[in-house]
């Protein structure tokens, strides 16, 4: 009771403080309309931005998992339907290529004193987006099961395979490993992560021509196939929701999952204490003797629409900067690996931070990367199912990519 009393007092004080601090957040008028993906961290940022609303200033947010489909058309309209958007790094280049988001240098100079330099995404010298959280896929493992078979925490995917074999041989689990290997986007992402671990470029330098039909490509395919050999036979249907559920039900000992799932896995829902207490999140493993973690780093940030009045753009920027304030981070510390000052790294995001510190590559920010991602998603299955050789699959991927890239105008 006492505790509750204290908490509500504290919350009340926060609200009071908040409303004093917000009071329009420094702008007097404007219409702000936010569009973005729907997950807890973005909801926290949007709520804080909405708190800027007051007489004469309207702030609204539409957070939806379908954001990707409506973003480009909504920003193309003039005036744009939304003037502030949450984006992930894969979305930046397509929007930029269509000229749909505006440079933020002036606004950052005027209102962005509290932003850290590494939050500012610059392209061609101009600030085009402000990043506020990071995400990456990395290794989750069950300490209790590794201890039972006398295995050390794996540092490379070769270690992962060795530990998986030990677990299977000891009769603990038949399918101890899972990755997000659902055909399509997820499976392609696993290929890209593994390929980046080989530290080899995916395209011929300075061109949109593919260059994955090489030793790194073959090694990537073989590693993926070996890993899925320790996965449940349904692995081609595994997306993040499936792997999280499998982990929480205690059916896995080693899994590569998104760091942003860490909080949900470690909470007291959907699992039992034995699984939660022995779940360890470590950095992404290396592969094939390389030193780079085999994963790609993602960021989420916000950008401001081109097709909106300067007044509304300023209001939107101010509201968003308020959304990613240190106060917001303090209240929502566990929801993401924030790139914002005041963030305290904790166990739920340890894997992301470890991967970042080990020098993992960012997801390639190339305009034709999306075409490659789609081509990979469609062509990888044949190899994993044993229908064709690694070389054949790699050349199929390049052919599918080239066809689509021609249609998109990236290749002649």
């Amino acid at each position: 009771m006492k505790q509750t009393m204290k908490t509500s007092l504290y919350a009340g004080a926060l609200v009071l403080l908040g409303s004093v601090a917000h009071a329009g957040c420094g702008v007097t008028s404007g219409n702000v309309n936010i569009l973005g993906n729907d997950f807890p961290a973005l909801q926290a940022v949007a709520d804080e931005a909405i708190a800027c609303a007051h007489d004469g200033m309207k702030v609204e947010a539409n957070l939806t998992t379908e954001h990707r489909e409506i973003m480009s058309p909504a920003l193309t309209a003039n005036p744009a339907e939304y003037n502030a958007v949450f984006i992930a790094n894969s979305q930046l280049m397509p929007l930029l290529a269509k000229g749909l988001i505006r440079p933020l240098d002036d606004l950052v100079a005027k209102h962005g004193q509290n932003l850290a330099p590494n939050q500012l995404i610059r392209v061609d010298g101009k600030i085009v987006s402000v990043a506020f959280m990071a995400n990456a896929q990395h290794l989750f493992y069950r300490k209790d099961i590794l201890d039972q078979v006398g295995a050390r925490p794996p540092e490379s995917y070769e270690d992962v395979l060795a530990v998986a074999e030990k677990i299977r041989a000891a009769g603990k689990m038949e399918h101890p490993v899972a990755l997000n290997t659902k055909v399509g986007w997820n499976l392609a992402e696993e290929f890209i992560n593994m390929y980046l671990g080989h530290d080899t470029p995916m395209f011929k330098a300075g061109t949109a021509e593919p260059a994955i039909n090489n030793d790194a490509g073959v090694s990537t395919l073989n590693t993926l196939k070996a890993l899925t050999g320790y996965s449940n036979p349904d692995y081609l249907t595994f997306d993040s929701n499936t792997t999280q559920a499998l982990w929480e039900s205690g059916d896995l000992a080693l899994a590569t999952m998104w760091g942003s799932r860490g909080t949900a896995i470690l909470d007291d829902e959907g699992s039992n204490a034995a699984v939660v207490s022995s779940t360890i999140q470590s950095g992404a493993p290396t592969v094939a003797g390389g030193s780079k973690p085999a994963t790609s780093l993602w960021w989420n940030g916000f950008s401001i629409a081109t097709n909106t009045s300067d007044e509304d753009a300023e209001a939107a920027f101010v509201a968003m900067v308020n959304g990613i304030s240190t106060d917001m981070v303090k209240a929502n510390n566990d929801k993401a690996a924030w790139l914002i000052e005041g963030y305290e790294p904790n166990v739920a995001t340890a894997g992301i931070v470890a991967s970042m510190e080990a020098g993992a590559s960012p997801y390639p920010m190339l305009p034709y990367m999306g075409v490659m991602h789609t081509a990979l998603g469609g062509e990888l299955v044949d190899f994993l199912q044993g229908n064709e050789s690694a070389k054949q699959t790699l050349s199929d991927i390049e052919a599918a990519y080239t066809t689509a890239a021609r249609e998109k105008g990236f290749l002649e």
Binding site: N89, T237, W299
Partner: protein, 344 residues
Amino acid sequence: MPDKAFFSFMAPSLLAMILFIALPIGSVFLQSLFVEHSQVMKTVETCSPFGGCTDETIVDAEATQALAQAQPLGRFNGLGTYTDRNHLAFDDLGRARREADTFGEFLSAIMNLRFYRALVFTIAFTAIVTPFVLALGLVIALAVNMLPRMTKGPAIFVSLLPMIVTPLVGSLILAWIVDAEGILGATLQTLFKDPDLSLKASPTLTWIMLFIYGIWHATPFSFIVFYAGLQTVPRDTLEAAMIDGASRAQRIRYVVVPHLMPLVTFVLLIQLMDNFRVFEPIVGFSADANATSLSWIIYNDLRGGETTLFGSAAATSFLTLVGVIILLIPVLIRTWRDHNSKPA
């Protein structure tokens, strides 16, 4: 009816058909002839939160916009999209024919091309599901028709259930049941003592599962149509056949089925069209690793990833349309002949 009256009567429907059927098809065809304008690219310094600044290739937005404005439809590509590797793949077919030593090799080269892979599944699905739906629907209708009055209502309701469930939801529920961790999937694994047995992992089992789902989902439709038709079978003819000593099977063969023939043609037409457009179960079962359909590759071009390929999707749509027409022609010709041979 004088021609003038006929046309003024038909004009609103004709207008609606042009507006809502002909124009969209025309626009899709036009779209399929174009690809996106060239992307002008340049290399600039890019800075991200990780790894600092690097030189990256980006699209020169201004130069590309200028090109886009000059050619709003994109670059004219003629039938290029139809013949590229993601569609009819003439080049790859030719190469496969030259290089393949055996027919098997040629076949596997064809199945390596996404359009033909999807086409083969689509045709197999249509060819297998349609007759089963017709036959099963008729059998269920005959069976329900023989039930005592009291039980007919509940029986009809239960038989209609598979059709009432939304296809996507129905397939999702079944997908969870047959999952390796699901009740049916896990039981099969225990039954066959094979921990790697999975309905979703094996291509053959996936196909069979989708066929069964298709039959399960569409049978109620043919059942209810045939059941309605059974209520109109003339009793006189049936009784006459009984007096002549016809068995139940003979009565069905020579009286009931001929009476239902127009309905059979109707259900056949609808089922051919529906099954050729098979889509939801592939998404619901996450079966795209083993089975893709023409509709599914259209969806994948539009919503499958970070990029949308409108030209490619339009070309596949148009090819699907051609497929449906080819499939329906025999049935339509038959109907036309029957129609003309009837005494006026």
